[in-house]
């Protein structure tokens, strides 16, 4: 029994969790948890402010990593065995259908949650100074998520996969000068074939996930370094922000920054450098308002995790991942559609290839990346930023409307059809 305790204490070297010291040590003695602060502001925990969308996205990514690695044991990335492996997952592999369904639905959910997370960050103005760069990292993560979903789309090697990728890469090829070459490099040829499958596979299981992991680390790290989870700063009492403090400069040089007194707490590297940090800090008054991460934040995160996992599992039990006929380059479905999140672009392409293939996607990405640097309005109060909110809402609604039209209202020949046509076609 003594030995058991000795082993346990060699692993967990902290005071009991009943003490404040123990609660703090749980966080900063643990390599996995120390990205958290030991204490968090109560208002950071409010569900209605963040909806925990960042966490949910991260948890979906964890589900995708685990199910994805499990699926790799059963998948060979060359046609036509790739398709046969899908059939084997469905008919022979123990829990194979369930595994593939979880991977599929979690992937779709992640695309949705990344987008919703971005909307939340925009509407709460959390991209503003000092968090501009983390917004940029977030936009890159959005693009990587779309890339992961898109490359994964091809792997089942069925008609859905084949033609979605054919159409998707065609949209990209409208870009002037580089478009065609980009497509050729991505596909390893002029059409989707064996070479494209192995390239998409390597991107899907090695390159893109590694980049996502690297950028996620930066994303999380910057949350801490930029002053912790975002919160409705404009609701803080005005008197705290009245006084201004000069920071970031030795005596004989021009000051780096003048900030509100509410941000004047110093985490200095004592005796090494002088100056004050550029991030939101917790004032002594607010400090009293903070609670220990354990158990308040950790249990909330754990509940978010369990809600995410159980939802995906429950959906996967009753809805199998779709699998159509084997890819057949000679038989084009009508209409051939890109993955749903690119259907807005395809809808635009149907009106103008230049608009949907080049102008719209390029502008969207550039605009998203530039938002924190163009929005010079320092206020985060919704009432002060009506223009920004209106513009972003139009952007979101336009995207949604185009995607809905492309998904439900487009039939053979990209003609306009009522959505119930698809239901009837499915039933036949």
């Amino acid at each position: 029994m003594n030995l058991f305790r000795e082993v346990w204490q060699s692993i967990v070297r902290r005071d009991p969790l009943s003490t404040d010291k123990g609660k703090s040590e749980l966080v900063f003695h643990n390599v996995w948890l120390h990205i958290h602060p030991a204490k968090v502001k109560k208002e950071n925990l409010r569900f209605r402010y963040t909806f925990y969308l960042g966490f949910i996205t991260f948890f979906l990514f964890l589900i995708l990593l685990t199910t994805g690695i499990a699926l790799m044991f059963y998948y060979r990335p060359y046609p036509p065995v790739a398709y046969q492996d899908m059939k084997d997952l469905q008919f022979v592999v123990f829990m194979g259908s369930f595994l593939r369904a979880m991977h599929r639905w979690a992937a779709h959910a992640m695309v949705v949650c990344v987008f919703l997370h971005m909307c939340r960050v925009f509407y709460t103005a959390s991209y503003k100074k000092p968090r501009q760069f983390n917004w940029v990292v977030g936009v890159l993560l959005l693009l990587l998520t779309l890339g992961l979903s898109f490359t994964g789309y091809l792997l089942p090697w069925d008609q859905l996969a084949y033609w979605a990728i054919t159409v998707g890469t065609n949209i990209g090829s409208y870009a002037p000068i580089i478009g065609g070459q980009l497509r050729e490099i991505l596909l390893g040829g002029h059409t989707v074939g064996e070479a494209a499958l192995i390239r998409f596979y390597v991107l899907h299981v090695a390159i893109l996930p590694s980049l996502v992991i690297l950028l996620t680390i930066v994303h999380f790290w910057r949350i801490r370094k930029d002053g912790g989870l975002s919160r409705p700063l404009w609701k803080l009492k005005a008197k705290k922000t009245e006084a201004l403090v000069t920071i970031g400069a030795p005596a004989d040089v021009a000051p780096l920054k003048t900030v509100a007194a509410s941000q004047d707490k110093t985490y200095g590297l004592m005796e090494v450098v002088t100056g004050k940090p550029i991030f939101e800090t917790i004032t002594p008054e607010e400090e009293e308002d903070a609670v220990f991460s354990y158990p308040y934040a950790f249990f909330r995160e754990a509940i978010a995790l369990m809600v995410t996992v159980t939802s995906i599992m429950a959906i996967s039990l009753y809805f199998h991942a779709p699998l159509e006929e084997m890819a057949n380059p000679a038989k084009t479905p009508n209409p051939a559609k890109a993955p749903w999140y690119f259907l807005g672009l395809q809808e635009l392409v149907s009106h103008s290839a230049l608009l949907g293939g080049v102008v719209a996607p390029a502008l969207m990405v550039l605009a998203l990346l530039a938002i924190p640097y163009f929005d010079r309005n320092p206020s985060r109060r919704p009432g002060d930023r009506k223009w920004a909110i209106w513009l972003f809402t139009i952007f979101v609604v336009a995207n949604l409307v185009l995607i809905v039209i492309g998904t439900f209202f487009r039939g053979p020949g990209w003609a306009f059809v009522p959505p119930w046509v698809h239901v009837v076609a499915r039933a036949e």
């Binding site: 022979v92 829990m95 369930f98 249990f299 599992m313 429950a314 159509e324």
Partner: protein, 463 residues
């Protein structure tokens, strides 16, 4: 705040556990395990002693699959259809019943789906039988299964499937090639039929289509050939058998079945009657072949056909370089041949042709081979409806010499011709004369023209 958090977390964890258990349960109780259990019980009934019974019942359930790389498929049908090759299951209920009359097409070498269709990879009833979305090759209805024989047996008669032979014959004689390409030969007015069987149209659709093309696909240029039901069925069989899938050398090497008919064809081709007689009819250089099968074993005859010198040193019989199935076919023919066969063969042989007749005969064959008869009729009578073309139908060829010179006709065959319109404002007629210069050699065209001229009726005759 926070008091309720641990219980909620605990409840959610329990929910996750329940979901995992459901998933495991779902995966561990597939329907095929039930079928195997029933089969083992069926088997155990026949076992005499308790030990053997227990052993049968304790067989662990497992998926059975037949890997068929040569046919590019994996068939798991025998996971449930466990009695297919067990004759004691002759009277067992489905899905366990014995499949009689299979030899030589044993499931272990051929699987099931190559003949029956369906989804071999699947292991539950609905998916396996293929009546599910996104599986294009569902189980063939009983009436059409025999069409599958033609997938491997691409030439020659298939015993028990006269429809296939009839379908192939109709395709040639009715001139389908005129509009349809098959293995690279044929016109381009209708769709290429090289892989029609892989298009997975339903047999009923095909049969209906042959009876009334315009009813099934409105606006089709295909004329109604007024086929009988039997002919439509035969053509449907042929269409179903057309796949350009590579059947693998093992399967395609046996495509010619050594039937007596095929043997007789070889007998004529190799002119055996020049030396041999049957029942006294024919030449007397070699031995008479009537009853030769009683004097020698099939193996001996086979050896003789491979190398006559080896069996009879000094024999004057030449070596013919025949493949195994050709030799088997010849032996099969010899076993059934009578003096009457010989008389027919001799009579046909003595019917000598002049060189001109030979050219005309070749032209007639080309006329059929390239499918000209499809539109212009087997007797050159034309008459296939072609709306809005002058005369409203494809022209007869019985009077071309009145209107054209040979050179003009050669030109039309080479470059094709769009028929003059009846009503200039009307729609384009569905049928037209395609350009044949890429498919026919000049020699072919000349022969066809000779044939046409041989059939011309003088103007005065037709009045």
């Amino acid at each position: 705040m926070g008091r309720k958090l641990p219980p909620i977390f605990f409840a959610l964890s329990m929910l996750a556990l329940v979901l995992i258990v459901i998933a495991v349960w779902q995966s561990s109780t597939p329907s095929w395990k039930n079928y195997q259990r029933q089969y083992f019980q069926l088997e155990a009934q026949g076992e005499p002693n308790a030990v053997a019974k227990a052993a049968v019942l304790a067989t662990p359930p497992q998926i059975h699959q037949i890997l068929l790389p040569g046919l590019q498929r994996v068939d798991r049908c025998t996971t449930c259809h466990l009695g297919v090759d067990d004759p004691t299951m002759k009277n067992a209920p489905e899905p366990f019943r014995y499949h009689s009359g299979l030899a030589p097409h044993v499931p272990s070498k051929f699987g099931c789906t190559i003949c029956h269709g369906g989804q071999g990879l699947a292991t539950d009833v609905k998916d396996a039988h293929g009546n599910v979305p996104f599986w294009q090759d569902p189980l063939l209805a009983k009436d059409y299964i025999r069409a599958s024989c033609g997938r491997c047996h691409k030439e020659g008669d298939v015993p028990g499937v006269p429809e296939l032979t009839e379908g192939r014959r109709l395709f040639e004689t009715e001139g389908c090639h005129g509009c349809h390409k098959l293995n690279g030969v044929g016109g381009s007015i209708g769709p290429d039929l090289t892989a029609e069987g892989a298009n997975h149209r339903s047999p009923e659709w095909l049969e209906h289509h042959f009876l009334a093309p315009n009813v099934v696909s409105p606006g089709s240029a295909m004329p109604n050939f007024h086929f009988t039901r039997g002919q439509a069925r035969a053509l449907t069989y042929y269409m179903l058998s057309l796949t350009n899938a590579d059947m693998g050398s093992y399967y395609s090497s046996v495509r010619l079945i050594p039937s007596p008919d095929y043997g007789r064809q070889l007998f004529v081709e190799k002119d055996c009657i020049v030396c041999h007689s049957i029942g006294g009819v024919g030449a007397k250089v070699g031995p008479d072949l009537l009853g030769v099968i009683k004097r020698h074993s099939p193996a001996w005859l086979d050896e003789q056909l491979i190398n006559p010198q080896l069996v009879y040193p000094g024999s004057t019989m030449p070596e013919y370089d025949l493949d195994t199935n050709s030799r088997k076919a010849l032996v099969a023919f010899m076993a059934t041949a009578t003096a009457r066969d010989a008389t027919e063969i001799v009579a046909h042989r003595s019917n000598k042709l002049t060189p001109e007749d030979v050219a005309i005969e070749a032209g007639k064959r080309d006329f059929a081979r390239f499918g000209c008869a499809g539109c212009h009729g087997t007797e050159l009578q034309g008459g296939v409806p072609n709306p809005n073309a002058q005369g409203g139908q494809v022209p007869s060829l019985l009077h071309v010499s009145d209107d054209y010179t040979k050179d003009e006709i050669i030109e039309i065959i080479r470059n094709g011709k769009v028929p003059p319109l009846d009503n200039a404002a009307g729609p384009t007629p569905p049928l037209y004369m395609p350009s044949w210069k890429k498919l026919m050699s000049d020699e072919d065209i000349h022969k066809i023209v000779e044939y046409l001229w041989s059939k011309q009726q003088k103007a005065k005759d037709s009045w």
